[in-house]
């Protein structure tokens, strides 16, 4: 539909396009700057205010962080927790969401309201900590994986998705002699691949970014995942955090470039999966936006 634009309308368009463009730039520029700094000399970082292309590229920072075992170890722990966590979380979410999507299931209503209640009220940090402690999970990787393994919000979205699947498909499978477990595995799961992909990635991002669980449950700093080590290196070196045990390896504050290299380490895996993630998550959010 074409119509003549008024002057006011044109001015608005110019402002709108510019403002959105600038905001989008701020979303990505800090990362580009940190990336550039991680390849720069200390002198350049001190002298130039902002740049995204270093004058002379060097790898000293990366050599430095690989020279101690701390960072590679933390990286591997994070990778392990992320993979195991995302798999556990998906298993629990799918197996719980499927029965809850069956409206004829006895007791479904009670279970759903008990589950939804956890969205508005919870035990809080200390009682949860004591439960984890009493289960003997302190300083175990399970403490990083299990407590957050079901996000109620994700569960309800997946449940709604299952509910929308055509019931006829499952009925015909049952007529052909498939048990409800068989129907779930052979018919429902293959149809749910986009949803499975979305939430696996959501959970993976959550596990990768999580540092609170390790702050609470992991006191042995040899078992720290990347985010906690990162906090230690970058924020404690800035003299800005108190009340936590300082890892002896970092009493010598690392150079600026190394700090930036560590930030790059914490970010790059997310930016690598992001293009795959982006294809799906908008749809995932939209399924969730529909109440059911």
């Amino acid at each position: 539909m074409k119509y003549k634009k008024s002057l006011l309308s044109r001015i608005f368009d110019v402002f709108n396009y510019t403002f959105l463009g600038l905001f989008a730039c701020t979303a990505i520029l800090p990362f580009l700057y940190v990336l550039a700094c991680s390849f720069s000399s200390e002198k350049e970082i001190l002298e130039r205010p902002f740049y995204i292309i270093p004058r002379n590229v060097q790898l000293a920072a990366y050599k430095y962080i690989f020279s101690s075992p701390t960072l590679p170890r933390a990286f591997m722990i994070s990778v392990f927790v992320t993979i195991t966590g995302a798999a556990t979380a998906m298993f629990l979410t799918l197996t719980l969401a499927y029965p809850l999507s069956k409206k004829y299931l006895l007791g479904r209503k009670v279970l759903l309201s008990l589950i939804s209640f956890t969205l508005v009220f919870g035990g809080g940090m200390i009682p949860t900590f004591l439960v984890i402690k009493d289960l003997g999970m302190l300083n175990k990787f399970w403490a990083l994986i299990l407590p957050g393994a079901i996000s109620t919000w994700n569960l309800l979205v997946v449940k709604n998705f299952f509910q929308e699947l055509p019931q006829e498909l499952e009925d015909s499978a049952r007529v052909d002699g498939c048990s409800s477990l068989g129907t779930f595995i052979r018919i429902v799961l293959p149809l749910s691949m986009p949803v499975i992909a979305t939430f696996t990635l959501f959970y993976a991002v959550g596990y990768w970014n999580d540092y609170r669980s390790s702050l609470l449950y992991i006191t042995d700093n040899k078992k720290w995942p990347l985010q906690l080590v990162l906090r230690q290196i970058v924020l404690m070196a800035a003299g800005n955090i108190d009340g936590a045990t300082f890892d002896a390896a970092y009493t010598q504050p690392p150079l600026e470039a190394s700090k930036n290299a560590v930030i790059v380490f914490g970010t790059v895996p997310i930016l690598v999966v992001y293009p795959f993630l982006q294809k799906h998550f908008v749809k995932g959010i939209m399924i969730g936006a529909i109440k059911g």
Binding site: F23, Y33, T118, S180
Partner: protein, 316 residues
Amino acid sequence: MNGTSLQVAGKKGSKPKKILTMIKKDIWLYILLIPGVLHYIIFKYLPMWGILIAFKDYNAYLGFFDSPWVGFKHFSEFFSNPDFKRLLSNTLIISFYNLIFGFPAPIIMALMLNEVRKEWYKRTIQTLVYIPHFISWVIIASLTYTIFNSQGVINKYMIQMGRESTIPFLTDSRYFRAMIVGQTIWKETGFGTIIYLAALSNVDPQLYEAAIIDGANRFRQLWHITLPAIRSTVVTLLILRLGHILDNGFDQIFLMSNSLNRKVSEVFDTYVYIIGITKGAFSYSTAVGLFKGVIGIILIYSANWLAKKVGESGIL
């Protein structure tokens, strides 16, 4: 929703037997439920039961059951503690700022994006503004330090522009709230637009065509068509937000606080951590957490009631 109760009510006769055959028919579904239900029992409902230690003097040697009951001792201690007023005002002020600046930001941005007619431009902008949502608070705090510390980008520019001294963005308590709100807006605004854009994509384009024929300019169209289309989404998200007004997000505040800005940066969540985990006052900090949780639940139910009162569907 009420399929179960209707079916059960509809079947007369020996009810227990009927229930048993129904369970047997769906036995696999019940087996599938087990791991997830166990998870909720252990990690969600067991801690809720553990809240009882707020009314006890929890002692690790005596354990949960044998620690003595003390009634509301920890609560009265907390309410008479000078920390209480400071925590409450810090928590509310940060939430209030996030509400008035952070909440409308994605709405405004969604409305702006909705006016972009060039598809490629719109898609590029969206791809970029979603990114910060997926970055951890540790990284975001680190980026903030890199950019705002005394040798950071901003201060270096200011020195070059001729300023004598650097601005202590990170350590002066005057800047703390602005930094927090700024971070939140930067991180979540883009992602927050998704849900509003979804609501906007459901608007029938014929409405706009009719409005144009009636001579409505873009601002009239916005007022009469676009805004009403996102009204219920706005209300729903506002209810959710109000229910969590005492949650400032532990991660962000904890990472940005330091001994120099403590007076404005300490909120309920960080206080519970410091008193409970690092100082070991389990009962007292559980009482603080419970106070917060109960106020939260009251807020969320009242906001929901209010939403229904003004003719919206609410969330509960």
